[in-house]
Symmetry: C2
Subunit: 96 residues, 2 copies
DNA sequence: AAGATTTGGTTTATTTTATAAACTTGTTTA
DNA sequence: TAAACAAGTTTATAAAATAAACCAAATCTT
């Protein structure tokens, strides 16, 4: 039987966020927003879910006077991605 | 910017169904149900969506006296899977 | 042979999720 | 100083997934 797909990661926007964060030390809200094309509201909600799961950390600070939200992936997040990709391969392995 | 993921395929159960059908000429409802572990109701709904999209064909016949529903993938379905996997790789490419 | 159970589903209702719209707080610009 | 903009959050709506309830016919039980 196929492995279940972590529902937290099996979401287009959350997966895109995780994908971006895999490649960098950290990324801020505005950057992630422009890279993904998501609306701010949607992104805010999905980042919160990833944080609650312990997959990313969110730090709120300031860039001069403007607020800035910076995200980065945790080890737990990295491990979850690894497992997700491994499971996913069972689903798409035949499509080559 | 990341390619969008075909929402019809980006669903655990529908993806499992497509994955199964990729490897075989055809498969019947009961087989798909046991392989995926899905409930009959859920499977019925998701098969219908795949059929409406033209990704699979569904034929209803009989096995002796018992009804039998047989599914197989269409060329359109195969092509959609190919594109989906290609898009997905952009998301998970970093996780190796 | 009548009733109970199983098979193979479909339909409908409920829950969850994703998404967008509206709002808030503070900043910069005209 | 009023209007517009930036960076988000909160709340409402739309869509999706899932489960519960149901149905018809076959088979098993006594």
């Amino acid at each position: 039987m196929l492995k279940p797909l972590n529902p937290l990661l099996h979401s287009e926007l959350r997966l895109a966020v995780m994908s971006i964060l895999l490649g960098v030390e950290s990324a801020d809200f505005v950057y992630i927003r422009t890279e993904t094309g998501a609306t701010a509201g949607n992104l805010s909600v999905q980042l919160d879910k990833l944080q609650r799961a312990g997959y990313i950390t969110i730090e709120k600070g300031f860039n001069g006077k403007m607020p800035r939200t910076t995200c980065s992936m945790t080890d737990l997040g990295r491990e979850a991605m690894r497992e997700y990709v491994e499971a996913l391969k069972e689903y798409i392995g035949g499509a080559r």
